[in-house]
């Protein structure tokens, strides 16, 4: 952290005109964005699709055709409508569970990493214990003991069982941030603990928290699918997992009804692939070391930097010498610890 890339410093001194370009979104990012957007649109399309998921339009496993793009499921419902409703439910569960898990994980990690000492030992001890228990087992046990299973209860259960790894990673980052000078400044100026955590520590690991959140959402969608496939899913609601559950229960695989189990499987794959790709490409955006780009772009950038350096040198020569630019926080924040 102490060494600051000089070219970086020069870049900040001479910002480029195209801000969007400066984010350096890679091709991966756009692919991921399209995938995620597609899934979200699919979930929203259910709101305008003519048939609802609960409407019986055919018999048990009617093959695709007759105006039904993907045939019917075991209840005689339109698979497309069920898929749209299921995607929506799965996304809602993923977002809620992801929010819960990330909030708990970041909260615990921040506190442990910043406060340190026995408090850190205690929190991390708890975290490690929770981490050591296979979360799917805990998930199944909690879901079974719930008197009623709704999408909200399921989301919260998934959220409170999947936070530990976020907590661990955030703690490592927070304890690194805690040793920086500006924290001392904040402390000397009388800021309280919550203020310091939120205003002086959190912003530095926000990029990491966002990526963790994306991962948590993808994980929660998969966890919901696993639970629902076991029959512990939300009652009275369609999700991608319950769709697979009924396909399994009514032996869609054996009876060759591919339209009952393939669509939810594909959407699940797209969702988790899309989110993982999004996370990886966000990582590239936030962490300049991981930045990749087309060779042409890189050459252009290199040429531009040379040009900028030349201009800067000219400027420096024509004006009285100003001090070298301070290694700014922005530069440091961009560089991941």
């Amino acid at each position: 952290m102490s060494t600051v890339n000089t070219s970086m410093a020069e870049e900040t001194a001479a910002p480029r005109a195209n801000t969007l370009r400066s984010f350096n979104f890679s091709g991966r990012f756009w692919i991921a964005l399209v995938l995620v957007a597609f899934v979200i649109l699919l979930g929203l399309a259910g709101l305008v699709y003519p048939t609802t998921a609960g409407e019986k339009v055919g018999s048990l496993y009617d093959a695709p055709g007759n105006g039904l793009l993907l045939g019917t499921d075991n209840f005689g419902h339109d698979v497309v409508a069920v898929l749209m409703a299921g995607t929506r439910t799965s996304l809602i569960i993923g977002l809620v569970a992801g929010t819960v898990a990330t909030t708990i994980g970041v909260g615990v990690g921040l506190l442990a990493g910043y406060v340190g000492g026995w408090f850190e030992e205690l929190l991390m001890g708890v975290t490690n214990v929770v981490l050591a228990i296979p979360s799917i087992v805990v998930l199944i046990l909690i879901s079974m003991s719930l008197p009623e299973s709704t999408i909200w209860s399921l989301a919260i259960v998934i959220g409170i069982t999947s936070w530990p790894w976020t907590a661990r990673a955030v703690r490592a980052q927070a304890s690194s941030v805690a040793t920086r000078e500006h924290i001392d400044v904040a402390r000397l100026s009388g800021a309280r603990l919550p203020g310091i955590l939120l205003k002086d520590v959190l912003p530095y690991i926000l990029s990491y928290a966002v990526m963790a959140f994306v991962l948590q959402v993808a994980g929660a969608i998969l966890a919901e699918a696993a639970l629902s496939m076991l029959g512990l899913g939300p009652s009275g609601a369609n999700s991608l997992g319950t769709q697979l559950h009924w396909a399994l229960a009514f032996q869609a695989v054996a009876s060759g009804a591919w339209w009952a189990f393939l669509p939810p499987t594909i959407i699940l794959t797209l969702v988790s692939f899309g989110f993982l790709l999004l996370q990886a490409s966000l990582d590239e955006v936030f962490n300049p070391r991981l930045r990749r780009g087309k060779r042409k772009q890189m050459k252009q950038a290199a040429a531009r930097r040379v040009e900028e350096a030349r201009l800067l040198a000219q400027q420096a020569a024509s004006e009285p010498a100003a001090g070298p630019p301070e290694p700014s926080d922005r530069a440091r924040a961009g560089e991941k610890a």
Binding site: L60, G76, S235, G236, A254
Partner: protein
């Protein structure tokens, strides 16, 4: 799989592909097929002679070769490794488990699910005198598997065990029977003079396996009369097969060459062994069945017609939907102690709200006929007791608009949340329970929940484990749900009316009830039940049953969601033919009771 083996090898396929084919199919039978393939393919099924009792598409296989050609593969009765063959234990392994196929143990009488008759079993004749007594005459020359002679003492002792250990199921026999005595080969049973329930006694006689006194006398001594706690890996019975091997993967029964019934059944069964492979899931078994590695089974197969449409020699008793003859009715139980559900108009509205056609078509895969508003199973053995016209005229059918009309007429009004309520009593939220993994019932309740929501009654499904569900029903700790009541048996439909409506020994909420889980209360039902049980002749019995059915329709303490076969009976004629079907109805489509008839009459297809 035999077909694949014998078809491919002479067809000039490479060895690798042949190996891949058999390897994928796996199992002992596959090896047998290899041996057979080199010995020349099987005969063309139905080539010369006309085979009967084959697949619904008229097809038959070519027969397996090797040892497997003489073996019958059966499935659907045992799902975990067999641990105990004590027929009185809580969960004995097949075929020692209660009221299953009579391969090792046998019963005195055998119930025929199509005709409703009681056929002779270990007892050659049975004579019912009014509703006072039953006289049985035992068959001649019956022996146990260990060679010892079977006597009337064994019969008496088997039922006596119900007095020795009152925790056994057979103990209930003595609530209906005063005395059981033997004179030589003749057994007389004096029926309880107050209860006069001949049907229940006959049911016990048709379901209770007779066990050897010599063995169980010792057991009673060893276990201090706790017969159920005894564990054993042997089963000495009188049946045509004896237990040969039982391990984690299969149960093998070997033919008893000295079977007493050689003359009675006109010969020994054609198969030397019966093998029950133990599968982890329905799907494993169904796949093996489709491939002809299983001959007969009672697993649930959705859309079984796809198998014969795919040219597999698979068949069922009925050629058309519902393919299986109905034998039981999964019952939608209503806890009549809950506010709202204690109102008969609400129960009637709920009965009108359910889309029975949808349930039969999707949840039951079309294996159920149209549900009638009656506690009598239509078609089959019980049909004689059904007043179909009344059931159609006074009953209910799916009509959501009518359901709402009934609610409105009863003074219920829709609240802001879209659910009906009256005097502060909201209809719901209610939970509909049934055990997790009972897929057809799970699906049926999903449909019911949607139907209820559609008419403005708040309901959602909840699927606990089986043990929890069972306790919830018995203790009255439920709102509504799907549960089983008596299937077709010699005491049906009386038994079912008793299960659903009886007010005898009403258990309060929180205590274990054995019938009427909905705690429905009525002053007249007990008298009606008594009259029906003690009816001296068929005409008065039908009258009494109809009176009960009328009361049932007026009060709706519960209602059937669908019909289900007593046992699914599916066969694959790839190795054996002459399976019982509607056109070849020498035996009923069942495994228990009279279902052992077909065991002796199957014909081997291959050479």
């Amino acid at each position: 799989m035999t077909e694949l083996g014998s078809r491919r090898l002479p067809g000039g396929t490479t060895r690798r592909r042949f190996m891949a084919g058999t390897g994928a199919l796996g199992g002992a039978a596959a090896l047998a097929a290899c041996g057979g393939a080199t010995g020349g393919g099987g005969q063309n099924g139905g080539g010369g002679e006309e085979l009967v009792g084959v697949g619904n598409n008229g097809m038959a296989g070519k027969g397996r070769s090797g040892d497997a050609a003489d073996q019958l593969f059966i499935a659907g009765f045992q799902w975990s490794p067999p641990t105990n063959f004590n027929t009185f234990a809580a969960a004995p392994a097949w075929p020692a488990s209660n009221n299953v196929a009579q391969y090792v143990y046998e019963t005195l009488l055998r119930f025929h699910i199509v005709s409703g008759e009681l056929l002779p079993g270990l007892a050659a004749t049975h004579e019912v005198t009014g509703n006072e007594s039953i006289t049985l005459t035992l068959q001649e020359g019956i022996t146990w598997h260990d060679g010892s002679e079977f006597t009337a003492d064994d019969v008496l002792y088997t039922f006596e065990l119900g007095k020795i250990d009152e925790g056994l199921g057979v103990a209930s026999f003595w609530t209906e029977v005063d005395e059981m005595t033997a004179d030589g080969n003749t057994i007389s049973i004096a029926i309880n003079k107050e209860r006069k329930n001949v049907g229940s006694v006959l049911t016990s006689l048709a379901q209770q396996f007779i066990v050897p006194k010599a063995v169980f006398e010792k057991v009673a001594k060893e276990t201090d009369n706790k017969i159920a706690s005894w564990e054993t890996d042997t089963a000495i019975g009188t049946g045509p097969f004896s237990l040969e091997l039982a391990d984690q993967t299969q149960i093998i029964l070997a033919r008893n060459e000295d079977y007493w019934g050689k003359d009675f059944y006109k010969g020994l069964p054609p198969m030397t062994k019966i093998i029950h492979p133990i599968f982890k899931s329905n799907e494993d078994g169904n796949l093996k069945f489709q491939n002809g590695e299983l001959d007969v089974m009672q697993q649930f197969v959705p859309q079984i017609w796809k198998m014969w449409e795919a040219d597999k020699p698979v068949g069922t008793y009925l050629q058309d939907k519902p393919y299986f003859s109905p034998g039981s009715m999964p019952m939608f139980m209503i806890n009549t102690t809950k506010p709202g559900l204690d109102d008969v108009e609400v129960r009637k509205a709920l009965a009108h709200a359910v889309d029975y056609g949808s349930i039969a078509e999707t949840a039951m895969s079309g294996y159920s006929s149209q549900v009638l508003a009656s506690l009598v199973v239509p078609d089959g053995a019980e049909d004689a007791w059904l007043d179909r016209d009344k059931a159609e005229a006074d009953g209910w059918a799916f009509d959501a608009a009518k359901a709402e009309e009934i609610l409105q007429a009863a003074g219920y009004a829709k609240g802001d949340d879209g659910f009906y309520a009256k005097d502060g009593v909201k209809l719901g939220p209610w939970k509909l329970i049934t055990p997790q993994g009972w897929t057809d019932w799970n699906a049926a309740l999903e449909i019911v929940a949607k139907n209820f929501q559609a008419i403005g009654v708040d309901a959602s499904t909840n699927f606990p484990q089986q043990a929890q569900t069972s306790t919830a029903f018995q203790n009255g700790d439920f709102d509504m749900g799907c549960w089983s009541v008596a299937g077709t048996n010699p005491a049906a439909p009386w038994q079912r009316f008793s299960d659903v409506m009886s007010n005898v020994d009403m258990a309060p909420l929180g205590q274990t009830a054995y019938r009427n889980f909905g705690r429905w209360e009525n002053d007249t039902v007990n008298d009606l039940l008594e009259t029906a049980a003690a009816a001296p002749d068929d005409a008065s019995k039908k009258e009494a049953i109809t009176a009960l059915d009328d009361l049932y329709r007026a009060e709706v303490p519960a209602f059937p969601l669908m019909y289900r076969p007593d046992e699914f009976f599916e066969f694959n004629a790839s190795n054996w033919s002459n399976w019982p079907t509607e056109d070849n109805d020498y035996a009923p489509p069942m495994f228990r009771g009279a279902g052992n008839d077909w065991l002796f009459k199957l014909k081997k297809i291959g050479g």
